[in-house]
């Protein structure tokens, strides 16, 4: 069964404390991997697309990487405004369906 697991469920960091969020998958026929940020009361906001193992994308303090079994979202020197839930989703090659993880709630304390 195609599955996506995000860990940890929640992560509390001090401002400036770097860390990584994990998105592991057992999916056959991966076309792409997406990372989203979701703030309370809002729809998910698109961050990155990764298509192949070894690919990396960066945006401000965030860097996303992809291997054959998992993806990481690295956050460097985070600020309180980076607090949000981060979701990953896999796009299936066979039918272009999105398989979603449950998200990691990130809290950055000043």
């Amino acid at each position: 069964e195609d599955q996506v697991t995000q860990s940890p469920e929640a992560l509390r960091l001090q401002e400036g404390e770097s860390s990584s969020l994990n998105c592991s998958y057992t999916v056959s026929g991966l076309r792409g991997l997406f990372w989203y940020r979701q703030d309370p009361g809002k729809g998910p906001e698109f961050l990155f697309t990764l298509y192949s193992a070894g690919e990396e994308k960066e945006k401000e303090r965030l860097k996303a990487t992809l291997t054959k079994k998992e993806s990481f979202l690295h956050i460097t020197a985070p600020k309180p405004e980076d607090s949000a839930t981060y979701l990953c989703a896999f796009l299936m090659d066979s039918n272009y369906q999105l398989i979603w993880g449950a998200g990691t709630k990130l809290i950055i304390k000043p």
Binding site: G32, F34, G41, G43, P44, L98, W100, G101
Partner: protein
């Protein structure tokens, strides 16, 4: 570029009543999704359209939920009759075929 528009933003109804949500996708996006999101969980796909055809509706509770996408643009999602467990945020998203999806703000439904 205008984003995905959804309305209403909030809705409170009593159980057994009916409710409808509207979505206007990004211009040119052939793929349209309706998701249900319960607090603390990832989005759950209800239905996926490609133009005005249904790609996947396997998780849509068809005894009470229905959706249509007229002329391959706007879409409506209806619940009739609503149950308490339908309380959630309903998200609409659109994309080019096989590309990243862009979301609207969602409709928060409370069934009392």
């Amino acid at each position: 570029e205008a984003g995905v528009a959804q309305s209403p933003r909030y809705k409170i109804i009593e159980k057994r009543q009916s409710v409808a949500f509207w979505c206007n996708p990004i211009s040119g996006h052939a793929t349209l999704y309706w998701y249900q999101q319960i607090l603390g969980q990832g989005p759950k796909l209800l239905i996926q359209f490609q133009n005005n055809g249904v790609v996947d509706d396997s998780q849509l509770p068809k005894d009470r939920f229905s959706a249509e996408r007229l002329k391959g643009v706007d879409s409506t999602l209806k619940i009739q009759p609503a149950k308490l467990e339908d309380s959630a945020v309903y998200l609409c998203a659109s994309s080019l075929w096989g590309a990243e999806a862009f979301f609207g703000q969602g409709t928060r439904l409370t069934v009392v």
